[in-house]
Symmetry: C2
Subunit: 506 residues, 2 copies
């Protein structure tokens, strides 16, 4: 059965162990691996490479690689390589705890990039040569084309740009994945670029398979292991309240005639709050919805199953084991309703703006004037990365950011005087939602935003302190466009770093 | 002669004085005026409106308006209205000194918006109803269509969206402007949007005239006054050095095969440094260049005249009196080489990304990690606004920001530990240039960026202090991805506010 997944005779000759394949990756190589969330990442070669690198380090040899992916991956990839300190420079996104610890300890460099920018920058040559691609696929066709796995990410670019290719053929992936993907080969370098011919979120504009030059394939490795995506928490009161505010707002927009009852294509970040919003929409008043997003997670699968969502476009299937079972069982149903695209298409500014998305993303903190921090804890430490949130927020019809009003059991306010890092500027943020309420910042000046954010979104424990800062800044700041007292603008963060609580000692 | 500019019989009946026209604008109205830089703004009605509002204020009456434009305008518009405190909310951009003073005194609200976002947000209804449009034109055709003036800006949207229209027909504008504009009427609201059919910077995709419903026109006013754009300073040593570094970098990119010798379409911000760069390009090694930008300023006119630039696309002609004379004299030559478009097209993310621009914009300050502040002085006071810099930087092939390394005679370092406001995040900034040198940040992690920026771009007076901050942050910051000491991250700014110099007292 496994052999039948490799239908190209020449490539069958390149079958080898993960260890043998990993031995073909030289020190210092730029390696482009598949993977977008815990989906479609190579399961065996990264671990074999990690073992090889650990052995080299034990012998006192230098051996590190540049690791490029679609986005985050899983412990078998990011975790295994970070654990042995195998990565010199990581990009464009990662969420592995070991990797995060290495980065924040200064042991691993990390470049955090808009996900829509990655493929083109590699094509432009901005990151240097891509040496090796390691890509998981669900099968190899007789002519060498590849059946993609559960994520597409940057795989098209890795296969096209790498000098050498290592394929992992995962026999655990259902054969019914074939036909679900849409690989667009119409991209080009400027000045030769043409309009991307997509006008509907469910439209197919490409091919179902990845092209691959068999002459570049130096190894084929068989695996048979499922993806690893964890289940989200059941919606709690906080996330349910956020979902409630958001749905009420969308209903209001429909009533005002600014949205149709079918809304516009939904983009949703990943996580517990996003999942709660999707659960809310699944029980909500809107019908025949569409999604144009990065990641199809459990909540969207539920919406497809219920019929609330007619169709979903994504670049990755990021399903919990339980949801995966349902997906696999009804794969013919879902193949009619799901299209998986390269991330340069799922996140493309041209398409996001044209389709007019409703973009819903989580954040770490937001400041009084509507600047959003999505990436850094207390200004210095990376959490995950910006991912696609900038692609979506900048170009969406509606740009929505969500967070509980506090973190760490109330010790951190997610609404602060000044953000300790800015990923989405005041120019890109329209709607802020916490469990306390929703602030619609569209068209407001900075001071108007501040007043609304404090009243609608701040936790009551912090509301007076925010009012106090804002009122004193309105008297004492050197300018009254965005009144700040720079001496204390970041004092909430320094207080937390000093005493573990943003609340002033009482 | 003036009458012949108004060829529509019915509209000729609406001829009246500027005072009579201004009397038709009610208190509280949202007024969309033409104007983009000191080009194509209405010359008479805003001043008459200012007088009317001043008189109302003198009688103790409330009278303010919401003022929307293309971008900045001139003293006769922004200056006159700001002087009498006539503006409640200004958007999307302004650079008038009186307006700036009002905003920073907290007397006038200002919403600073990506210039590509304005038209669509008005169409979406995000800013409420547009009540009155006041648009300068070069003439009215027999069927009521309008010959645009020296800027297009948001005029198409104002004319389409406003309930009532006041036209200023400026007899001073050369008749040869007719045919220079390209007004695209293919935009739509999602989900009905289609690809914008432009693949070359010099391509015409629309119509030469603005459509206008004569039934909405409540007044026509004749004027005969030229635009008001000041001459840029001759390139000094600092701006010439910046231009030199930039041209050397572009030559390097050509040598590496990442750019063709024709480069890619140029976008250039406005100002002395931009003008110096254009002068450098005019004497530089590249031929047959194209421009796709907001503003055609003197430097680009010189490049068109010399043949270095084959073609320029812009939304405004922002020429000094001396350059205007040359333009007017050779208008047939320039009409073959210049196309003026609505700013939603000149700044459209879809087109900027497709065409692959080289985006060159000025900034106020940049921090160690590549975050750029384009709008705020010392965190609180607005300078001008983000304008189109975000549209271009985010979507360009190359995103370049330029500044002298110091300001205020050396008392301000333009490279600081932490930016006091962020308009372009680390994810959107590739190249930083000062007179000291050029830092190519592509693909670098935050710490790698900091090291390069200090060595290449910082002024020697500040280099040691920046190194000191960075080195101490590398030891003492709570995280080593973007090492910051939050207690002192903004101390350079607070020191300047306190003692008028960012340099530590010695």
């Amino acid at each position: 059965m496994a052999i039948s997944r490799i239908q190209h005779e020449g490539l069958r000759q390149r079958l080898m162990s993960a260890e043998a394949a990993a031995a073909l990756i030289p020190p210092g190589a730029h390696v482009g691996m598949s993977g977008f969330t815990g989906a479609g990442y190579p399961k065996a070669v990264p671990q074999a490479l990690a073992a090889r690198i650990a052995a080299a380090h034990a012998r006192g040899q230098d051996f590190r690689i540049g690791l490029w992916t679609g986005a985050s991956t899983a412990p078998e990839l990011d975790g295994a390589l970070a654990k042995v300190n195998a990565v010199e420079l990581r990009m464009p996104y990662q969420s592995d705890p070991t990797g995060r610890a290495r980065i924040n300890a200064g042991e691993m460099e990390y470049t955090d990039i808009h996900l829509s920018h990655v493929a083109q920058y590699v094509w432009f040559g901005f990151f240097g040569k891509l040496d090796v691609a390691v890509v998981e696929v669900a099968g190899i066709l007789p002519d060498g084309r590849l059946i993609p796995s559960t994520s597409v990410g940057n795989n098209k670019t890795w296969l096209d740009q790498a000098d050498k290719i290592i394929l992992e053929v995962n026999g655990r992936m259902p054969e019914g994945l074939a036909g679900m993907h849409d690989i667009y080969y119409g991209t080009a370098l400027p000045p030769e670029r043409l309009p991307i011919p997509m006008t509907q979120a469910d439209q197919r504009i490409g091919e179902p398979y990845l092209r691959c030059d068999p002459a570049k394939v130096i190894a084929v490795v068989e695996t048979a292991q499922g993806d690893r995506n964890s289940k989200f928490a059941e919606p709690d009161a906080v996330s349910a309240a956020i979902a409630g505010h958001l749905i009420e707002f969308l209903q209001h927009e429909v009533k005002r005639g600014r949205l149709s009852p079918r809304l516009l294509p939904l983009q949703s970040g990943v996580g517990n709050i996003a999942n709660a919003v999707l659960a809310g929409l699944n029980n909500g008043p809107f019908e025949q919805l569409q999604a144009y997003t990065e990641v199809l997670q459990d909540g969207m699968l539920d919406m497809l199953a219920s019929g609330k969502l007619s169709h979903a476009s994504a670049t990755a299937l990021s399903l919990s084991p339980e949801a995966w079972e349902r997906f696999e069982r009804d794969i013919d149903f879902y193949r009619e309703r799901v299209v998986l695209r390269p991330q340069e298409i799922s996140n493309h500014p041209e398409l996001i703006r044209r389709l007019g998305l409703i973009a819903m993303n989580a954040m770490i903190e937001c400041d009084l004037y509507g600047n959003v921090n999505s990436t850094h804890v207390m200004g210095s430490s990376i959490m995950n990365g910006i991912g696609g949130s900038g692609d979506f927020a900048r170009n969406a019809y509606l740009s929505i950011f969500m967070t509980p009003s506090t973190a760490k059991g109330g010790k951190i306010s997610c609404l602060v005087p000044m953000a300790s890092h800015v990923d989405h500027t005041e120019h890109d943020v329209q709607i802020i939602v916490t469990e306390q309420g929703l602030a619609d910042l569209r068209g407001l000046s900075p001071k108007e935003r501040a007043a609304l954010l404090i009243e609608r979104c701040a936790h009551p424990d912090y509301r007076d302190a925010l009012r106090d800062y804002f009122e004193r800044a309105r008297r004492g700041a050197p300018g009254q466009h965005t009144p700040h007292l720079l001496e204390e603008a970041l004092s909430w963060h320094t207080r937390y770093l000093r005493q573990g609580d943003m609340r002033a000692a009482t």
